[in-house]
Each structure stands twice: as structure tokens, then as C-alpha cells.
Symmetry: C2
Subunit: 192 residues, 2 copies
């Protein structure tokens, strides 16, 4: 998605350790109108008639998933991190490594809200090593739901998470794949 | 908001400790189309011409704030909980008590994204003792921004957070104020 790449180039910064900050429009201060354009791009890629629900993980995936779900007239579920007293029994769980927080976190999802046969489109803002998406896929499998696709706004291609999903033959698409990120330098992978 | 109250009565459950679960449409599985109706109700209450940005706290406030921001053509900022390595220096911070997680958490907000003079509308899904909103108000004050209003979908009126804000004379509105919640019983406060 050309406009997304341009915004990453114009507004993004790269911190040491190839940490890409685009938190001025994607995941801290959020340009929700632009998220609507990202939703339109996903709608061109995925067959939404085959999607019952949008699934994401808290917290930074929620704005994009919510705007997609709103525009497409679908419900959205966000998997929660860690145990809250306000979620009673009956949970699907998946442990993932959070490199942002440098610890293992448990994604949880109430069994009540994801039932067998439901067709799920996973949406997330960022993919690096792909731990969050791996956890979400596990939740889908635990639920006996089916995975219609995985849509990611920005993939850090050099960290391998996206390529692993491609090799698995999943219906995976990222709108901007960053091949190299160093302070002052962002290079995108050629279009698929 | 009559339709919100009806959905709470029809779909909500009350756990011991007056914990109100409406996570089938508001904050786990999310009915984003209905969030759009809540956004329309807020738009009748608040003068959006006096609002530059929507502010909420992660995680459960984000879907509602995102849909509001999308419908209103405004940017949205969500304050994060705890320190992430991906947010470099320059933070506004506020410590709040999370009764859900039974611990003190720190709300953080990058100074880059909330600047002096910005007119802020705080949006959140739930208000109990009002700790999250208190923290968000502190962030607004630290930033030298101005508070245009506070909009809450569901207030647990019997826990006092909303009344404290009313007594302070803030432009505070909740769309459904629950006066009593016990297993099998939900009673709303009379309309303001």
C-alpha cells in the first residue's frame, strides 16, 4: 500500500535494535481516518463474505481491528493479555513471547465469544517475529473456528514472522513489508 | 441511552462483587456497529467543534474511542499501561489503581502526541471508581492541554467515580448509570 509506505518513510523513525516507531498515526496517537483507508485496502485483498468475525490482540491492534470491523459491519474480538478477574472460567489460552515487554504473556479469549465453525480474519497493526499472530492462530484452532486470513498493516520482513506464515500457505497479507530498518534508513521489500 | 440500557439488561450478567459483565458487545467481543450508535449519542451531547483529539486508556476503551474518532474525523490517542521499551523518553505519567488487576499501574503518554492547548475529549467504555479517568485528566493537565469533556458508556453509579466528576463541575456524561448491580438484578439511576 503505497500511501502507508510513504507515511512510514515520512513519519517513522528507527531506534537502535531495528525498533520502528510509527506511533504518530498507527499505535499511540492514531489517525483513524487513515485506518479506514487501510481497512479499504484489506477489503480489496480478503473476501469479506467469507469472514464472520475480526480477531486481534490487545492493545495496539485494537484501533485498526475496530475501524475495520466498523466499516465492514462485522463484530470484533480482542484477545486479552494476562488474567483479569472479570473474565470467568471457560477460556482459550495461548502463551506468547512479548519482545516489546521481554516476557511471556498469555493471550486469553472467552470460549463464549468464539465458537466452532466461526470464520475468523485476524487483523493486527504490526508483525515482527509473529508471536502475537501465532497465539491468535492457536486460539482459533482451540475454538474449532476456521481461519479465513491474516491481515497485517506493517511487517518487519527481516524478523521472519511473515515468511513463516507464507511458507505455511496461509492467506496472509501485509500492506507494507520492511526489509531493512536502521536509524535513518527504511527499505521496503519489493511488492509480492 | 435507552438502547444501551436494554442491551445491558438483556445481555449483561452480574458476578459477585457487583462486577458487571457486558463483554459480549462492549469490551471483549465488540459490536462495532453499536459502538457507532454510541458515538452518535455522544455527538449529540458534546460540541465536537470544540474537540481536537479523543483520549482513552488501553485496552478496553480503545474500540469505542477508535470508532468515535473514525466517525467524527478526529485523531485518537490511547494512554498505555506500564513501560514499553518502544516508547522513548518524554512521557507524561499518572499512577492509577486498577481494581480489575488489583495493582497500581502507570498510564503513560508520549509528550510528542499531546501538546499544550489541545482540546481533549476523554472517552471510555466503563467508569467505576473513576481511577482511569482521573489518570487521563492528570495527563491532560500535565500536557497543558484543555479538557473539553468526558464521555462514558456505562457508569457504575454506586461506586462514586462519576459523582465525583459531576461535583467537580466537569462536562461529564455517562450514557447508562447503573445504581444497583447484584446477581440477577440491574437497576439504572433515573435520567439526569
Amino acid at each position: 500500500m503505497e500511501k502507508l509506505k510513504q507515511r512510514i518513510l515520512n513519519e517513522g523513525t528507527v531506534l537502535p535494535g531495528s525498533i520502528i516507531k510509527i506511533d504518530g498515526f498507527l499505535n499511540h496517537r492514531v489517525d483513524c481516518a487513515f485506518l479506514g483507508e487501510i481497512a479499504d485496502e484489506f477489503a480489496r485483498i480478503f473476501d469479506l463474505s467469507q469472514v464472520d468475525v475480526i480477531l486481534t490482540a490487545e492493545a495496539s491492534g485494537i484501533p485498526l481491528a475496530a475501524v475495520c470491523a466498523f466499516k465492514w459491519g462485522k463484530p470484533m474480538i480482542f484477545a486479552k493479555k494476562a488474567k483479569s478477574d472479570n473474565i470467568e472460567g471457560g477460556l482459550y489460552k495461548s502463551e506468547i513471547m512479548s519482545y516489546t515487554y521481554k516476557k511471556v504473556v498469555t493471550l486469553i479469549l472467552s470460549k463464549q465469544w468464539l465458537t466452532p465453525g466461526t470464520r475468523v480474519l485476524i487483523i493486527d497493526d504490526f508483525m515482527a517475529r509473529g508471536e502475537a499472530v501465532r497465539g491468535l492462530c492457536e486460539l482459533v484452532e482451540e475454538a474449532g473456528a476456521s481461519l479465513s486470513g491474516i491481515g497485517i498493516a506493517v511487517e518487519k520482513g527481516f524478523q521472519g514472522g511473515g515468511d513463516r506464515l507464507r511458507q505455511m500457505g496461509l492467506n496472509y497479507h501485509a500492506l507494507a513489508v520492511i526489509e531493512k530498518a536502521e536509524p535513518g534508513i527504511i527499505i521496503f521489500r519489493d511488492e509480492e
